[in-house]
Structure formats: structure tokens, C-alpha cells
């Protein structure tokens, strides 16, 4: 019983249950849900689709997790994704050889470099000027789309470049490239923050900035680092999204993805108040969100009800995770146990 209670009280218990429930619903609606087939040496199946379509959200959510751990938030990730897509596409389009690997490499490198600049900008506003993160990143969130629009000159830039398209819809040893990239980003973030002291220092700044400063932490440097990393993640996600459709759309690339990313972090159990974070939780959160989208299609929920369905599921997850719910559930269990105890005593 106490072992079970421990499992139930784990902060990832309900998100994982939610994920399993969604899987079960899918399985009922579509018996072949778990089937993974190999076609032309490439993996296919619903689960693979979930991983591939969820990759951009996951990548951004990884960066967002670290930002949130410092008590911050980054609303500009969608705009940064749009800018990086626009930059890459305009470079490829402007090149005489759009299909050349070198061209694509340059385009990707420039897009990522620009995202670093954008991240430093966010970090500057938050760490140096001391602007509240939600306001600071709101600036780039709105301005960023405008910048992307200027880069694309208001057009949807369609590129015909196989190496670029490979990033979005290619396969690498049978695994979608987007999934590989997400795994690498996730792995590097987990490794760098948990194998070094970076994660602990980030949490410390998020929990108590002044105590951290007095303990000799370079809070400013850490903030620059996380906002820059988050922007880099956003740019990577933007490249995948753009490559997938082979088109840069300043208005719609990564639209509302910041909300999905924040949601993934929160579902994963990292508090918006900053402090302790869990990248694995974020992974589960991102999977829940993407599975939800897939479920909508497999179960055949009419498109007009999609948003309401999504909202309902998110509400349930948040309710299950709230401390108040946890307290009332444990109170209920205690009363049950007390009643059972009394019954025993009486008999």
C-alpha cells in the first residue's frame, strides 16, 4: 500500500496515466495503433507519427523547461521559429543551387546564428534590464513575426531543396530525422544540465535569486544562457517545421507553439514558479499533447469540437496535478482507511 501510495504521489504519475489512457482510447478506436511497420527501410505507424509530429514541440519545450526553471518564460519561441524558417528559406531561394548540400548547411547555420542573437536579446532584456520575462519576450513575440514578414517580403517562400526537406520529412536509419534531432537536443540538454552543476545552479536561481547571488552564482550569465538556448531550440524547431512543408510562412510557422511548449512543461510537473525541473516530465508532457492531437483524428472527433476536447483533457491533467486535489484524494483515502480500521475494531 505504501509502495503504491508512493507511486501515486509521484509527480509524473498522472501525466503518465493520461498518456496511457490516450493510448488505450486510440487502441480501441484503431486496433492497429501500436503497429509499426517497416516500408522501404523506414518506420511507419501511429506512434512514429506522434513522435515525428511532436518533435518540434518537444524541442522547444526542452528549452522552455530551463527558462521556466529560472522563474522565467519565453513567449517568443514561435516568432523565433518563424524567423529561422524564413531566413533559411530566403537563403536557399537566393542561392543559384538550392539543392546543394553546402547551400542548405549555410542556410541552417545562419538561421541558428540569428536565433542566438535573438536569444541574447531576450537574455539582455531579462537579465540586464530586469524586465519581467513575460513582458520582455512578448516584445520579440510580436516584433518577431514582423521581422519574419520582412525577410519573406510578405510571401510564402516555397523551396525545392531535397537536402532541406530531409530535415523535416527525411529518415535516418529508418527513423524520422525530426525525431533524431529531438532526441539529440533532449539528450544534450539532459546531459549538460545534469552531468554538470548547471541544472542545480539554474534551479537555485529560480528558487531564490538573491540567495543565489550571495552564494556567488552568476545569475546574469545563467539567464543569458537559458534564453539563448531556448531561442536556439526554437530555431531548430522552426527549421523542422519549415522543412516539413518546404515553405516558410511568416504568419503561421510555429503559431501558438509557445503555448503547447509551456503546456508540455507544466503537464510534465515543472512549476511555473520556477525551481526544480524535470526534462523527462517535459518529454511526457509533449507526448501527451501530441497524442491528444492524434487521438482527435483517430477517434474522429469533428474538427469544430477539437479545441474543446483538447481543453477538457488539459483541464483534467491540471486538476489531477493540483496540490488541492492531491490533498483531498489523500484525505479521502485516509477516511476510507479509518473507516476500515473502525470496522475491524468493531468486529
Amino acid at each position: 500500500m505504501s509502495g503504491l501510495a508512493k507511486v501515486v504521489s509521484h509527480r509524473l504519475f498522472w501525466p503518465i496515466v493520461m498518456l496511457l489512457v490516450l493510448f488505450a482510447i486510440n487502441l480501441v478506436a484503431f486496433p492497429g495503433f501500436f503497429t509499426i511497420t517497416v516500408r522501404d527501410g523506414q518506420l511507419f505507424g501511429s506512434l512514429i507519427d506522434i513522435l515525428r509530429n511532436g518533435a518540434p514541440t518537444l524541442i522547444i519545450a526542452v528549452g522552455m523547461t530551463l527558462v521556466i526553471a529560472t522563474r522565467g518564460i519565453d513567449l517568443s519561441v514561435g516568432a523565433v521559429a518563424a524567423i529561422s524558417g524564413a531566413v533559411a528559406c530566403s537563403i536557399i531561394l537566393g542561392s543559384p543551387e538550392p539543392g546543394n548540400l553546402a547551400t542548405v548547411a549555410v542556410a541552417v547555420a545562419v538561421a541558428l546564428l540569428i536565433s542566438l542573437v535573438l536569444g541574447v536579446w531576450n537574455g539582455f532584456l531579462v537579465a540586464v534590464l530586469g524586465i519581467q520575462p513575460i513582458i520582455a519576450t512578448l516584445i520579440l513575440m510580436t516584433a518577431g513575426r514582423g521581422v519574419a514578414m520582412l525577410i519573406t517580403e510578405g510571401q510564402i517562400l516555397t523551396v525545392n531543396s531535397p537536402p532541406f526537406k530531409f530535415l523535416g520529412s527525411g529518415f535516418w536509419f529508418g527513423v524520422p530525422v525530426a525525431v533524431v534531432i529531438a532526441a539529440v537536443v533532449f539528450g544534450i540538454a539532459a546531459l549538460v544540465t545534469r552531468r554538470t552543476a548547471l541544472g542545480m545552479l539554474i534551479e537555485s536561481v529560480g528558487i531564490n535569486p538573491e540567495a543565489s547571488r550571495q552564494a556567488g552564482l552568476r545569475a546574469r550569465g545563467l539567464l543569458f544562457a537559458v534564453y539563448t538556448f531556448c531561442a536556439l531550440c526554437a530555431a531548430i524547431a522552426g527549421l523542422i517545421l519549415t522543412a516539413n512543408t518546404a515553405a516558410a510562412d511568416a504568419n503561421n510557422t510555429g503559431l501558438f507553439i509557445e503555448l503547447d511548449a509551456i503546456l508540455a512543461v507544466v503537464i510534465g510537473g515543472t512549476s511555473l514558479a520556477g525551481g526544480r525541473y524535470t526534462l523527462f516530465g517535459t518529454l511526457v508532457g509533449a507526448l501527451v499533447i501530441q497524442t491528444l492531437v492524434t487521438t482527435v483524428y483517430t477517434v474522429g472527433i469533428p474538427p469544430i469540437a477539437t479545441m474543446v476536447f483538447k481543453a477538457a483533457v488539459v483541464t483534467i491533467v491540471c486538476l489531477l496535478q493540483s496540490p488541492t486535489t492531491a490533498a483531498s484524494i489523500s484525505g479521502f483515502r485516509r477516511r476510507l482507511a479509518a473507516r476500515a480500521g473502525k470496522g475491524l475494531a468493531a468486529s
Binding site: 552531468r195 554538470t196 552543476a197 548547471l198 542545480m200 545552479l201 534551479e203 537555485s204 528558487i207 531564490n208 538573491e210 540567495a211 543565489s212 547571488r213 550571495q214 552564494a215 556567488g216 552564482l217 552568476r218 525551481g275 526544480r276
Partner: protein
């Protein structure tokens, strides 16, 4: 409120609060085990015990913050069961907690009336709110604009505002948890005046404090707890201090006496040690006027002065917490400008803040993480301290400082105040400081932990570490320091060898006796050269 009669002093009437057989358990700990507790109207009661004795838990049981596992609570003869502090407050039990739990970004008036705002046409009656707050503040003798932001006031004033807030509720029972820990002598006297007047109105007051003097001054009755169990209930006038201390800690207290003798032995040894750090005309506008302070290796220098005298402000300059705008600092002959705490730490100067909660602990991190934090920050993030080394560090400090619970994975916010303080000490000791600045390290912690920390300061100094020690308790300053620097009104007014100094002589220096309101008397001391004894 019942009328005030001579009945006050009559034989004990029925208690207003009666708790019987209270037990509360937390995962892995039994915080309270069958404790009885009662309070009488028109009496000031004290709850005494070491950290972890269960004082806070008992208070939280009474105020409905914690549910009880067993036992009964009776208020004015009727059995009650509160599901939260709001219910307890509605029933007449008001609390002011140790740490100020108010909202710094709201006005003083809003803080005082929060949750009970006067209504007008369905909205808030701002004018009535201001008037009522102003009355309450005036009743406390506080010259505070009700419209000003709470966060703009000092911790001491915030504490008094918290008390004003509690008094506003028509309280039958007023609980003050360490209310004086951030107050100076004047403010304490003021608070006591208020407590006495409330007592005379038949309010039952629970006064929890680690200051024995204050307990003996204000309290009528006290209850002693130890390790979650009841030791007994006593009338204050019938219990000798030494007996009380023994009941609280359950053993004879000899550590303090030991120190006294050793203190003076060391003074002689260290008199010719090299100067480690020296401040010269170091100052910061609005905080501390330029002052000199040399500290030798292995020397313990005490800073004495009232709250706001500049003692903390001066220490913060030495620790790199705030930047000095005049003067210079010399560390082992090298002139440095400390711009951040990080730079001070790199030169092995550690500053332990008096504000444990906001500037000290990182509550949601573990004991281990808190201990290695400064050391890790100093090494840089890419050179993590190996897990095994971290565990060794944590274990060794947990043992050396007797940190309880001795679990390196426990979250620091779940530890008692004294143990949090020890974790902070461990954090600073882990960087092997040459100068350790301790700002009120023993505030709000029990006598046992206090003795342990004092002893530690001693051993450190013997091993060549310099210590700058700040405490509101002059006895403590005198017991520990080789030299005492006295501050008043942001000036250093004296720098004295601790040789025959007494509390009385220090008090005379700090102010003209305890009542420092007499400006003329202060002016007489004023001409004292501000840097007397600055160069040795």
C-alpha cells in the same frame, strides 16, 4: 470583549484554550505526541523549547494550519476543529508568525486590512480602510503612512505592522511567534506596552521567543516542550532560569561557560597576528558613513549597535553584497574593489545574511545542494563536484554541526530555523573562508544550537579564520569577540579591545541607556572620534 475588572488577578479561571492529548505525525516524524496545553484569558503565556521541540507545530495545530491526528481542542469551553487559519481567526485566534508573511507590493493599509476590507457600496471603502489602519498604527505608536508600500519599510516595522494586523481582529487569543527577533530594544518595549494593554483587556497572549530575558519580563506562565512531548507547565515567577534551560534541553549546559574562559585566553595569543583584511574609509551613501576596520587573521570582531545603526550595512560592504561608493578595502595588502559577492567569495570572504529566508537558504533544494552551492558556484558549472565528494561534504558537515534531520536529501525548507542556519554555515565553511561574516547567526534559534554555533565560531578563529560577528545580543558579542566595534546612526563610534567590557558599558556607547529617544544625551556621545582605534 469582556469588561476589565480586578478579576484579572484572581485565582485561575477556566482556560480560554485547552488542548488535550494532541498528536501530529509527519512522514517519518512524530512532531507532537500527546501534548496538553492551555491558555488563560488575561495572561501572557510562553511556549518554550529547542528547535524541533514542536512549538511551531503546536501553534499550527491550534490555528488550524495542521489537522491533528489525535486529541481535542477546546475554545471557550466548546470543542472546535478548524480546517484553516481563516476559521481560527474568525473564532478569535490571531497569529503573527516568525517570518513576516505580508505582501510587500501592497500598501500598509491594504496589508493590515487584507481579507477584512471595509465595504462601501459593494466595493472597498478605501477611506475607512486608511482611517482604521492609521488608528491601529497610532495605537502601536508607529509613525507610518498607511498609504506607503509595505516593502519600503524595514523588517522591524513590517513586523509591527503584522502585529497591528493581528490586533485588528477582535482576538481572544493572540499568538506571537518570535515577534521580537527583528526588533530593537525600543521597539520591544513598545511591543510589550501593547501586549500588556491587550492582556489587561483579557486577551490570552502566547508569546514565543528565544530571548529568555523577554520571556521573564512579559510572561506569566509557560509551557515547556521537548522532542514533541510535554515537559510541563510552570508559573514564570516560580521557575528559575537555569531550571528552565535544563528542562528545555534536557541536559546541563556547560558549553557556554567553557567559551567564556577560552575567549580571553585567545585574545592574548592573537594580539600580534597579521591583518587579513582592512577597510579604510569604506562607506556607502544612505547606508554607512565612511569607517575604518582592520581585522587580523584569527580574530573575532564583534559589531554592536542597534538595528539600523549601520552594522549590517557595513558588513555587507565587506562581503561584496553591496558596493561601497567611497573608501577602499585591502585584503592581505592588496587593494580590491568588491563589486559582487562572487568576487568576495573568490577571495575567501563569506557573508552569511541575517535574512535567512530571503537571502540565505534555497528552500526547494536539498541540504546537500545547499551546502555545496557556494563552493560549486566558485568552481564554475562545468566543473561539477563529484557526487561522492558532495556526499562526503554534506555528511561531514551534518555530523560536525549536528544538523537534524541528518538526511542530505531532505529539502532545506522542511528544516527548523536553527538547522537551516547550520546548513548555511556549512555552505560557507565549505569554501574554506579566510573571513567569515556572520550577521545575526543565532537569531531565532534555540539555546542549544546557539551554543553550538558560538563554539564553532571559536574553534574557527583558533584555526586562523577571521570572523566578523554581528548580534543584537550584546552578551553574545562580548562572549565571542576579541574586539568590539560599536556603531550608532551609521557611524562607527568606538573600536575597543574586549578587555573588561561589560554590557552596560556597551549600552552606554550604543545609546544613552535603553531609551535612545533623548537627542541631547546622544549628542554628548557624538563627538567621539568616529575612527578611534582604527589603526592598531
Amino acid at each position: 470583549m469582556s469588561n476589565v475588572t480586578s478579576e484579572n488577578t484572581a485565582v485561575p479561571r477556566s482556560p480560554v484554550v485547552e488542548m488535550r492529548g494532541i498528536s501530529i505525525g509527519f512522514p517519518g516524524v512524530k512532531a507532537l505526541d500527546g501534548v496538553d496545553f492551555r491558555m488563560f484569558p488575561g495572561e501572557v503565556h510562553s511556549l518554550m523549547g529547542e528547535n524541533g521541540a514542536g512549538k511551531s507545530t503546536l501553534i499550527k495545530a491550534l490555528t488550524g494550519v495542521y489537522g491533528i491526528d489525535a486529541g481535542t481542542i477546546t475554545l471557550s469551553g466548546a470543542q472546535v476543529s478548524f480546517s484553516g487559519p481563516a476559521q481560527a481567526q474568525a473564532a478569535g485566534i490571531s497569529t503573527v508568525y516568525q517570518e513576516v508573511n505580508l505582501l510587500p507590493n501592497l500598501s500598509v493599509a491594504e496589508n493590515i486590512m487584507l481579507g477584512r476590507e471595509p465595504r462601501r457600496f459593494g466595493g472597498i471603502g478605501w477611506r475607512a480602510m486608511r482611517r482604521r489602519s492609521a488608528e491601529l498604527l497610532a495605537g502601536l505608536g508607529l509613525d507610518v503612512d498607511p498609504g506607503s508600500l509595505l516593502g519600503d519599510h524595514s523588517l522591524a516595522v513590517q513586523q509591527l505592522i503584522a502585529i497591528a494586523r493581528a490586533i485588528d481582529v477582535n482576538a481572544k487569543v493572540l499568538i506571537l511567534d518570535e515577534p521580537t527577533s527583528s526588533l530593537d530594544a525600543d521597539e520591544v518595549a513598545e511591543l510589550f506596552r501593547v501586549i500588556r494593554s491587550l492582556r489587561d483587556q483579557d486577551v490570552a497572549i502566547l508569546f514565543v521567543s528565544h530571548f529568555l530575558d523577554q520571556v521573564y519580563e512579559i510572561c506569566d506562565r509557560l509551557t515547556v516542550l521537548r522532542n514533541g512531548t510535554l515537559v510541563g507547565e510552570y508559573l514564570v515567577e516560580e521557575l528559575l532560569r537555569i531550571d528552565l534551560v535544563q528542562k528545555m534541553i534536557g541536559k546541563e549546559l556547560t558549553t557556554l561557560d567553557d567559551l567564556e574562559q577560552r575567549a580571553h585566553a585567545v585574545v592574548v595569543d592573537e594580539s600580534d597576528a597579521a591583518t587579513f583584511v582592512s577597510a579604510s574609509k569604506l562607506g556607502r551613501r544612505g547606508a554607512i558613513n565612511p569607517a575604518d576596520l582592520p581585522i587580523a587573521a584569527g580574530e573575532v570582531v564583534g559589531l554592536a549597535g542597534l538595528l539600523g545603526s549601520g552594522r549590517t550595512e557595513f558588513a555587507r560592504l565587506l562581503g561584496g553584497i553591496d558596493r561601497a561608493d567611497t573608501g577602499e578595502l585591502t585584503i592581505r595588502g592588496e587593494t580590491v574593489r568588491l563589486r559582487t559577492p562572487r568576487q568576495a567569495i573568490a577571495r575567501r570572504i563569506a557573508f552569511s545574511s541575517e535574512n535567512r529566508r530571503d537571502e540565505g537558504i534555497v528552500g526547494d533544494l536539498t541540504v546537500r545542494d545547499n551546502i555545496v552551492l557556494a563552493l560549486q558556484a566558485d568552481r564554475g558549472w562545468f566543473r561539477p563536484i563529484p557526487k561522492k565528494k558532495q556526499d562526503e561534504l554534506a555528511q561531514s558537515y551534518i555530523q560536525a554541526l549536528n544538523i537534524r534531520p541528518g538526511n542530505p536529501d531532505a529539502l532545506v525548507r522542511n528544516l527548523s530555523g536553527g538547522n537551516q542556519q547550520k546548513v548555511l554555515l556549512a555552505r560557507w565553511l565549505a569554501i574554506a573562508p579566510r573571513l567569515l561574516i556572520l550577521d545575526e547567526p543565532t537569531r531565532g534559534i534555540d539555546i542549544g544550537a546557539k551554543a553550538e554555533i558560538q563554539k564553532l565560531v571559536f574553534n574557527l578563529a583558533e584555526n586562523g579564520m577571521s570572523v566578523l560577528f554581528i548580534s543584537a545580543e550584546l552578551e553574545e558579542v562580548l562572549r565571542l569577540s576579541h574586539r568590539v566595534v560599536v556603531l550608532r546612526d551609521r557611524h562607527v563610534v568606538a573600536d575597543l579591545e574586549n578587555d573588561g567590557l561589560t554590557v552596560d558599558s556597551l549600552l552606554t556607547l550604543i545609546a544613552d541607556g535603553r531609551v535612545a529617544s533623548d537627542d541631547e544625551a546622544l549628542a554628548e556621545i557624538e563627538p567621539t572620534p568616529t575612527t578611534q582605534g582604527g589603526t592598531r
